[in-house]
Symmetry: none
Subunit: 270 residues, 2 copies
DNA sequence: GAAATCGTTGCACTGGGTGCAACTAGTTTT
DNA sequence: AAAACTAGTTGCACCCAGTGCAACGATTTC
């Protein structure tokens, strides 16, 4: 058999597929929870296998079963474990900062981290306006996230080029912006402490992001704000300065020594 | 232990033991993360077994490895799974708690969440008495909801003041109570685990509410009960204690580590 | 009440996990 | 610098746990 270098055991893979399915369908509006047969069919596995796997997962508290509908959903144990991840601490420290930021500029604010070749949003604070999609827990490819510019900002140019080329499957490269723009954006982050992404992610929305550093000065996360397209260039960069300043304060709250070489002043500039 | 009737598969049990160990020692001790041999010894298992299990877990993102120290800690996948479902799970898990509460005190009980600058009621359990308005799916402004006191209870005073001022359009401020009362109510929540709102929302009705925390300890929702105005102050606070205790138990059911700093005892007091 | 759906269980088979030991790699000791 | 020690990975033979099929009980549907 051809070995996957990062191979996972069959049992674990099956369990993870089940958990992922339960998580994915958690946002469903209809009835909540999934039945054994539905999961089995969706996964292309034996009913019996899924039934037994779920019972095991239940006995460990990873899933729980509704006593009446007999449907499964994710369990308390998973949430308890999640609370102990490194992301969890980050979120708790960052929450007040993002709330304040969202209140001031009244736009959706997100906290994103880099995981592998995806950008994971770990905290979303919606603006006061209407309903916006919650991105928490959702991972999107590096090249499609506005926050990537900040997350990758202190990578070598070569490494950045490498990940961009690897992750741009042909045709997409044109519409998603070229390397030069990425490198320029990263440079802007290094100089000014934030960057704006003029690539359209959604209609009429700009991305403003800034890097958050941990105690060692390494980029640990990024604050990303979706800004409704504005004509006023100056106002956009004023927002950028605000995002950058918030990221700087959050970095210090996370243990970045104030005044260190990484704790540079945030300046507003094109 | 002799024999668990609802037995878990061998592989899963081993994986869970590992994850639990990582969770227990990941919470900021000396150095972050655990090594293979240490885990193996602690679990009384073969090194090789632990080594392979951890590699599988890593490939699924359940754990992640520090590239330099080669130590493992809990991974982003746990966080991502939990974040995506905590919302929808809330209602399912909360339902029995609210039903029980409504049965004991025989008043309308509601579960409310904060969305943007509105308070959304996601679950309503009516009392046995006659007709009461159903609030499910209804969003009302923060300043007009009794549950807000609990939902905002661990915000900074500054942030709370900010949202109050921003959302009080002039003339309304007078009749809806002043900032001091809000801050006092929030403080009461932090100290006693619940609060009562003596501002009249409807005729002769008081609002009793308590914060529900998610696995991270953040306020995720609030239980809010409309109590027919009672003369007896002591009875009101006894109800408050009951609401607070229900919210506490619900929090734990949602994954809040029992005994954590957020899991404070609920006390009845003015 | 027949039929369909959903979930669980019994059982023979086999493939993946297990434990031992050898191995590499890094660090400290002599 | 060789030896000794620690940390982690890998090869391999054995064998038990997981697999798939099918039958079964429990509900729901028509």
């Amino acid at each position: 058999m051809i070995e996957n270098p990062s191979a996972s055991s069959v049992g674990l893979r099956r369990d993870m597929e089940i958990l992922e399915l339960l998580a994915g369908h958690g946002g469903g509006r209809d009835v909540d929870g999934l039945g054994v047969s539905w999961i089995a069919q969706r996964l292309g596995r034996e009913k019996s296998q899924v039934s037994r796997a779920l019972r095991s997962l239940e006995s460990e508290g990873m899933v729980e079963r509704d006593p009446v509908t007999r449907r499964y959903r994710l369990g308390w144990r998973l949430f308890a474990l999640a609370a102990r991840t490194s992301q969890s601490r980050l979120v708790q420290v960052a929450a007040p900062f993002l709330r304040r930021l969202a209140m001031i500029i009244d736009e959706d604010s997100h906290l994103c981290v880099l995981r592998g070749d995806s950008v994971l949003t770990v905290l979303s604070v919606p603006s006061s306006r209407a309903y916006h999609r919650i991105w928490e827990g959702v991972a999107i490819p590096v090249i499609m996230a506005a926050a990537s510019r900040s997350l990758l900002s202190d990578w070598d140019d070569d490494q950045m080029r490498a990940i961009l080329r690897a992750k741009l499957p042909g045709g997409l490269s044109a519409e998603l912006g070229d390397e030069k723009q990425w490198l320029a954006d990263a440079a802007h982050v290094r100089e000014h402490g934030y960057t704006t992404t003029d690539v359209e992610l959604e209609d009429g929305v700009l991305g403003v992001s800034a890097p958050v550093r941990d105690h060692r000065g390494m980029v640990a996360a990024a604050i990303s704000v979706s800004v409704a397209r504005v004509r006023d260039e100056a106002r956009l960069h004023e927002m950028g300065r605000l995002v950058g300043e918030t990221a700087r304060q959050l970095s210090i709250a996370l243990g970045l020594p104030p005044g260190s070489s990484f704790d540079y002043p945030v300046t507003s500039g094109p």
